[in-house]
Amino acid sequence: MNLTLKIWRQAGPRAQGEMVTYPVTDISEDMSFLEMLDVLNEQLNARGEEPIAFDSDCREGICGMCGLMISGQAHGPEVTTTCQLHMRSFKDGDEITVEPWRADAFPVIKDLVVDRSSFDRIIQAGGFISANTGSAPEAHSVPVPKPKADRSFMAAACIGCGACVAACPNASGMLFMGAKITHLGELPQGQPERDARVVSMVSTHDHEGFGGCTNVGACADACPKEIPLDVINQLNKDLRRALMHGE
């Protein structure tokens, strides 16, 4: 298939960027979106032009490195990561715009690569449990009800890709945070720090320059791991509880 790509090019963090049009030909529909970009980069290389910088790592949908805004949809038209998106989801002759995640908390480093360290700092603020290491207790000594274990596991599927922020009209990171709050909050091990966790994470989130949530739901639609909106419900509830406990 033949496609026209409009791609955001930006030489560096402070450089002025612009959309550049690239025609690509002979794309197999079995290629992933990133493989299609690899093909384009080889052609650019051959012509002596600067290849397009984009992030990827596992290329199997589990690391969360590869987010791209594809024709206005985070990770493109399917519910999956960009690396697991295949060209059969497009039609011959399509014009596709490719942009980096747009959020001031995710500054562009180069072309399509953004810096998502703000997510790391949110996790550092509270996305953990404190436990002594070296003397692992017997696993069965702390019973976890099955529904809670399941819900925790569902929320733990978040790969930190940032599609929720990219898709949100407010550029809010609440789905990402809600996933972590739910993941730890459902488990007995997450209880001692439950109040402090939500307050600390949300404060860091706001400080990093993400927008506030207004319950739009674009995040859950965009999430490749299908994290549901009700994790934000959980986050709100936890914050309300923390407020009542005087945090």
Binding site: M69, A103, D104, S117, P169, S172, V198, G211, T214
Partner: protein
């Protein structure tokens, strides 16, 4: 990239978060939902005639008398509404400006419009409702000016009937009611989410259903008296 840290400034407290702002919005909004339902119910009294309507308006001023002076309860309630309005609008503008600052470079390809439209509706619809509120209060509470054909004296019922014989007044109200309905629909559902009451599949469905019912009942209930008056089903004398 290795993690790096950004020093956080200011005191960390639940009260200084965007989620707290949403709580403020949800709670003040809940008061308004309660209020518009009451107001809508009161308006329907016009179907029982001008006298019944006037008597109802008078009665509102005698609630809790003689503990409170005449009109005392009404003024207390109004004060509460003003506080709620300030909280609602303040939190809205806070989140609005926060969102503006959170994405200074826009996307070239616009997102699937439906979702973005919702925020636009809440925000611009909210501003429209605020403007409408000013007009509405001037017309029926503060100046009580009569744009209609009838002499009204100081009867609130007659003022209502005279005003809604004018087609453009009815039009303004109908437009405002569309805005109100949409605002209530997203607002009520959103409040349940903010308060943490929509955690499961069933409670989410219930929240959406409640939002739909409240939005429809309120906007239709409010639309009935003006339409009935315009088309001559309810007459002044």
């Amino acid at each position: 990239m290795a993690t790096n840290t950004l020093p956080r400034t200011g005191q960390i407290s639940a009260r200084r978060t965007t989620v707290f702002m949403k709580l403020l919005m949800a709670l003040s909004g809940a008061l308004f939902v309660f209020y518009v339902l009451l107001h809508m119910y009161g308006n329907l009294k016009i179907f029982a005639g001008v006298e019944a309507f006037d008597e109802y308006a008078y009665h509102l001023r005698t609630i809790l008398t003689p503990i409170l002076p005449f009109g005392g309860f009404l003024w207390l309630f109004r004060a509460l509404l003003v506080v709620a309005l300030v909280a609602h609008a303040w939190s809205a503008f806070y989140l609005w400006s926060k969102a503006q600052g959170a994405r200074k470079t826009r996307y070239v390809a616009k997102q699937a419009a439906k979702r973005t439209l919702k925020t636009k509706w809440m925000r611009w619809g909210g501003v429209a409702l605020l403007l409408f509120l000013v007009w509405h209060l001037l017309q029926f509470t503060i100046l009580k000016f009569n744009v209609g054909p009838d002499a009204v004296g100081d009867s609130p019922g007659k003022l209502v009937i005279s005003s809604f014989q004018v087609w453009w007044v009815v039009l303004i109200y109908l437009l405002a009611l569309v805005a109100l309905g949409l605002h209530l629909y997203h607002g009520v559902w959103s409040a349940t989410q903010t308060l943490g009451w929509a955690g499961g599949v069933r409670s989410r469905r219930n929240a959406k259903a409640t939002a739909t019912v409240i939005a429809l009942v309120t906007s239709i209930g409010f639309a009935l008296p003006p339409l009935a008056i315009l088309f001559g089903f309810v007459k002044g004398n």
